[in-house]
Amino acid sequence: MAFNIPKEKAVPLGCITPAPVTEQPMMITGNWREYRPVIDHEKCNLCMNCVVYCPDACWQLNQAEDEVVWNWKYCKGCMICVNECSTSALSKAYELDFEDGVVRLEKPF
């Protein structure tokens, strides 16, 4: 069986993609959250709980700056990181209180 698959639609075997170094710009999924986690770097002791527990790898360690960095593009606002934070450095904040707060999907799927 031979298929003619346009290049821009190609999917790797089993849809297995390099991760988490690659973001799919077509698939921004952090635009429906109601709350976002906010970090107080003074309180953070880099225990890495947020990095480990985030189901979408939205917390990454920036080794140069020695701090954890939040990825707003994929965070759904589940607040697992806030719950797991060992030093209460993370807190929950209402998304629309931020000037860049996400409101809704920019385009439907």
Binding site: M1, I5, K9, V11, G14, C15, I16, P18, M26, F109
Partner: protein, 395 residues
């Protein structure tokens, strides 16, 4: 040297898993398949098998555990029966779509309600459209052999699909039969080590099961369809190697006394055993009858079914599963049989028999009555109906 033993289907499957050197097993109890996990657990406890043995908290968890294990590069096995098989339904498509070739041992059990422990193929047959290899064993020997054949085919990089290796509950899973347990060296020659082309690896991080766009969905489905289409050739190669190494010859359709047969039973699984005896008795009375046994439901051997069945005048499909409201009003196999024969210039008369449901034995006299129905249709030149509920027909 291969060792001759007397084993139940569950014990034979456990021997097969051990010979395949499974690295992760995940269990959750439901009879009749449980005996398989008991055997495996014993092997692990006795230090005969180096395998991570994990207790799942349900069948959905069982499948998820082995999904992760096999995705990380471990040869993994799990299993279930009846409602356990259907409870894990959600996991079947992602495992096949993710192209992770783990194996599931199924000892069939009728689905609820209200709860019937007997064997019926409806549990695994309900999953047949998810992209898993699917097929039945007739004896404990075949249960052992099918485990090895399925691992080899599923793990082949041309296929990369998970496998449901089924055996009838009790009839195969619990009735001991003679089994030649092969030598480890033979199995090592037949089954190369498991090597996933895209394993989870901290050194080379990949993302399994990400979200895709709707316009990529067709392509994902095409990949799976292509893998399934590649499978028959890989299975054929596996059968050849299996025959060479172990001395047991298999094919997509095993035939029994079909050379001069006018009518045949088309069947899969344990009841083929009784059917052979019925055929011997019928032949002694002059009935030209034979048997064609199906080994794989998925991939369905369309070409083989067309070539083999078009030689006969009447085919009685014995269904041990249900498809309520289906085109043939009975089970599923007749749908596939008729579709396979559609393009043949010479088509046999076909009909189906609902028998052995809920785990009932199909006694010899029921096979005789099926043969009588087929002979009647042969004389009349056509089938009166597509389904017969054996033993309960009013006329």
């Amino acid at each position: 040297m291969a060792k001759e033993m007397v084993l139940s289907g569950c014990a034979a499957s456990a021997q097969a898993a051990k010979l395949a050197k499974v690295e992760v097993a995940c269990s959750y109890p439901i009879r009749p398949y449980t005996a398989f996990m008991m055997e495996l657990a014993k092997m692990v406890a006795n230090g005969e098998l180096d395998c991570e043995f994990i207790h799942g908290e349900g069948e959905h968890a069982q499948l998820s555990v082995v999904f992760g294990a096999a995705a990380a590069g471990a040869r993994a096995i799990t299993g279930s029966s009846g409602v356990g098989v259907t409870y894990a339904m959600e996991t079947y498509s992602p495992i096949a779509g993710g192209r992770v070739p783990l194996q599931m041992m199924i000892a069939d059990r009728a689905l609820d309600p209200p709860g019937d422990f007997g064997s019926e193929h409806t549990d695994a047959m309900s999953t047949r459209d998810q992209g898993w290899l699917l097929g039945w064993a007739e004896t404990p020997q075949e249960a052992l052999d099918n485990c090895l054949i399925n691992y080899r085919v599923g793990e082949d990089h041309r296929v990369l699909l998970p496998q449901m290796v089924c055996q009838d509950g009790y009839f195969v899973s619990h009735i001991p039969g003679p089994v030649l347990v092969p030598d480890q060296a033979q199995v090592d020659e037949f089954l190369p080590p498991y090597k996933l082309p895209h394993p989870l690896d901290p050194k080379r991080p990949v993302s399994h099961g990400p979200q895709i766009r709707p316009d990529q969905g067709t392509i994902m489905d095409m990949q799976r369809a292509e893998a399934m289409l590649a499978a028959p050739q890989v299975i054929k190669e596996a059968f050849e190697d299996f025959g060479r190494i172990f001395g047991r010859k298999y094919s997509f359709l095993d035939q029994y006394k079909t050379e001069d047969a006018e009518i045949v039973f088309f069947i899969q699984g344990a009841h083929a055993f009784t059917a052979r005896h019925a055929i011997n008795h019928l032949r002694a009375k002059g009935v030209k009858i034979g048997l064609v046994k199906l080994r794989f439901v998925r991939p369905w051997p369309t070409q083989d079914v067309a070539e083999v069945l078009s030689k006969f005048k009447a085919v009685g499909v014995i269904e041990t599963s249900t498809s309520y409201g289906g085109a043939m009003r009975g089970g599923n196999l007749l749908h596939e049989v008729r579709a396979s024969l559609y393009d043949c210039p010479q088509r046999p008369i076909t009909t189906s028999f609902m028998a052995g449901l809920g785990g009932e034995v199909i006694p010899l006299h029921e096979f005789y009555s099926m043969a009588e129905t087929l002979s009647g249709y042969l004389k009349a030149g056509k089938a009166k109906k597509t389904v017969h509920w054996v033993g309960f027909e009013a006329e």
